[in-house]
Structures are given as structure tokens and as C-alpha cells.
């Protein structure tokens, strides 16, 4: 039952061979500047879009732009693009739980108006 592990395999203190590890990556200032420009641009767009009457699309567009900006910040400023699967999964997990909170609670509020059954 006891597995024999060779020394090389066994001695992997930083867990280099496991999927939780990612090589360290340095993002350059040029990349940061591009991200910075994008963020400013989309801030302008979101303000502009708010002044145009798009009916139901207004909040959707505002949220879509905000989410896009958030994703850009997460991927580049926060280096998630270059991180291990573990960190990516962690971020996804946070937003998933947040969605669970919102969706499951909304399912109560929305269906209340459907009547008493």
C-alpha cells in the first residue's frame, strides 16, 4: 500500500510540479499603461451611456462596462491572468457565492408576486 516515492518527486517543497503553482510573471509598465488607458476610456463611455436613454438597456450596459473594467483590473493589475489555476478558481469561487446569495434570494422576492398558489 505504501507508495515508494523517489527523492526527486518527493522533495517538491514549493509544490512546483502541482497545478497550484505558477511561474512568477512580471507585468511591464507598458501593459499597465494600456490597461490604465482602457479603464479611463470605459469610465468615459459609462458616463456618456448614462445620458442616453436606452430604456431597459441602461443598467445592463452600465453593469456590463463595470464588470468589464473589473475583469481587466483583476486580470492585469491583480495579475490573475498569470496566476495559478488555484487563484483563478478562488476568484471564480468568490463571485459564484455572491451570485448564489443574489440569485437564491431573488428567487424568493420575484416569485412572491406570482400569487399565493
Amino acid at each position: 500500500m505504501a507508495h515508494q516515492i523517489s527523492h526527486d518527486q518527493a522533495h517538491d517543497p514549493p509544490n512546483v510540479t502541482n497545478p497550484e503553482h505558477a511561474e512568477h510573471h512580471i507585468v511591464t509598465p507598458v501593459q499597465y499603461s494600456m490597461v490604465f488607458g482602457t479603464l479611463l476610456l470605459f469610465t468615459g463611455i459609462t458616463v456618456w451611456a448614462a445620458y442616453v436613454d436606452l430604456k431597459v438597456l441602461n443598467p445592463i450596459i452600465a453593469l456590463a462596462i463595470a464588470s468589464f473594467k473589473a475583469v481587466v483590473v483583476i486580470l492585469f493589475f491583480m495579475h490573475v491572468k498569470y496566476q495559478s489555476r488555484l487563484v483563478k478558481l478562488t476568484v471564480a469561487c468568490g463571485f459564484f457565492t455572491f451570485l448564489v446569495l443574489i440569485m437564491m434570494t431573488l428567487c424568493d422576492y420575484i416569485s412572491r408576486s406570482w400569487g399565493l398558489w
Binding site: 509544490n15 512580471i26 499597465y32 490597461v35 469610465t43 445620458y51 452600465a62 457565492t97 443574489i102
Partner: protein, 247 residues
């Protein structure tokens, strides 16, 4: 003995043994990855922390849309927009700071950290101006909350706003409560962040982060960017509910 010896062979992995290395980590790499993962987990709790507020916002915005739209129009888009730009800029300098630490440039690191702090303080300053205006207009929820401006906008010199019925006007208080709760919670995170920035700047000035030990800068960067992200959502949700004419 059944256990073989795990030898510390740091050179083998090409890592420098920095003085900040803690005894219970095998390698500096392990310590750094643990730190950044821990920071991410902390940010998860922050997501859920703001999540409760965002849900309350979502619910009441749907229930009392007219009140939310009118109350939101009381906020200043130029100030809010400027603050968004300021915060993004602050985040940009923070990101540059992380880069400066990675490439071990002490002076650039110190300058970017100072700029980060400056823009953060500027954000808080503008926030203060906005809060002060709300105070003067009696838009702080509580005993002194005043809805007259929403019931009778014309009397307050507001011509482009439809009057709200008294019961709906009362619900602007919920908007302002959520506004203060969400931006206040955000500002609190900013204040904590600025405090930490002072400390980090001091340490950076002493050259602590110019020899490959970047974890504190990197992790603080994560925190600072997270605070940015919260604002990226707060701005459209609070300031830009309905800026086009209602009719």
C-alpha cells in the same frame, strides 16, 4: 527511520534566502505563494461583505425605482466621475509600484507609492466634499432627513425633475442610507489602505522591498485594486441610475 530527510537546498531552486523568510516555510517561493493566496481568500470575504450591501441595493432599487432615480440625480457626476478617474490612476500607480518592487528599483517604488497615496487622499477629499454637501442639504438619513426637495423640486430651484409623491419621496432615505453605507464602507477601506501605504512607503524608503522581497507590496496591491473594483461598481450603480430625462 521511516522519514527521509528533506534537505534545504535553496540554491537548487535559484531562490535567494531573504531575511524576511519565516522559519516554517520550506522556501521563499512557498511563502510568497501562500501570502498571495491568503490575500485572495481575504478578498473573497470582502466580496461577500460588500455582497450583502449590493443585494440590499438591488432589492430596494427595484422596489423604489423612482425614488432611487431622483435621489441618484442629486449626486454630482463630475465629482463622481473625477473620483473614478482618480482612483483608477491611484490603482495604476500601485500597479507600477508592484512592478518597481519586482525589478528592484527603490526610487521608482517610493515615488509610485507616494503618488498612490496622494491620489487616494484626493479621492477621500472629494468624497468629503460630497458628504458635506449632503449634510447641508439634510440628505443624511436619520432624524434630520429632509424630503422637501424631492416632493417639491421647483421650490428648490430644480426644474428638470418630476416631483415625487410623499410616500415615494420617503424612500429616497433608503437610497441615501445605502449610498452612505456603501461609499462609507468603501471609504473606510480606503482610509485603512492609506494608513498602510504610509507604512509601506516608509519601509520602501528604507529599502526593504528592493532586494526581491515584494510580498507586502504585491499583497497590498491586491487589496488596493480590490477597493478600486468596488468603486467601479458603486459609481454607475449610485451615480448613474437615470441621467437621461425621465420623460
Amino acid at each position: 527511520m521511516p522519514h527521509e530527510t528533506a534537505v534545504h537546498e535553496h540554491e537548487e531552486h535559484g531562490h535567494v534566502f531573504v531575511p524576511q523568510h519565516r522559519h516554517h516555510f520550506e522556501t521563499e517561493e512557498q511563502q510568497r505563494e501562500a501570502g498571495s493566496f491568503g490575500m485572495w481568500l481575504f478578498l473573497l470575504t470582502e466580496i461577500m461583505f460588500f455582497g450583502g450591501l449590493f443585494f440590499a441595493y438591488l432589492l430596494f432599487r427595484n422596489w423604489y425605482y423612482p425614488a432611487f432615480a431622483v435621489a441618484s440625480n442629486q449626486l454630482s457626476v463630475p465629482l463622481g466621475g473625477a473620483n473614478t478617474a482618480i482612483l483608477i490612476t491611484s490603482g495604476f500607480f500601485m500597479a507600477l509600484g508592484v512592478w518597481a518592487a519586482e525589478v528592484r528599483k527603490r526610487n521608482i517604488l517610493v515615488i509610485t507609492l507616494i503618488l498612490t497615496t496622494l491620489f487616494g487622499v484626493a479621492f477621500l477629499g472629494i468624497k468629503y466634499v460630497e458628504y458635506h454637501e449632503k449634510w447641508e442639504k439634510h440628505h443624511i438619513p436619520g432624524a434630520h432627513f429632509d424630503v422637501s426637495e424631492f416632493v417639491n423640486p421647483a421650490a428648490h430651484g430644480i426644474t428638470d425633475e418630476q416631483p415625487l409623491s410623499p410616500d415615494m419621496a420617503q424612500h429616497t432615505q433608503i437610497f441615501f442610507f445605502l449610498y452612505f453605507a456603501m461609499t462609507g464602507m468603501h471609504a473606510l477601506h480606503m482610509i485603512i489602505g492609506v494608513g498602510l501605504l504610509f507604512w509601506l512607503t516608509w519601509r520602501a524608503y528604507r529599502g526593504e522591498f528592493s532586494s526581491g522581497y515584494v510580498a507586502p507590496i504585491e499583497n497590498f496591491g491586491l487589496y488596493w485594486h480590490f477597493v478600486d473594483i468596488v468603486w467601479l461598481f458603486l459609481f454607475p450603480l449610485l451615480y448613474l441610475i437615470n441621467r437621461h430625462p425621465l420623460h
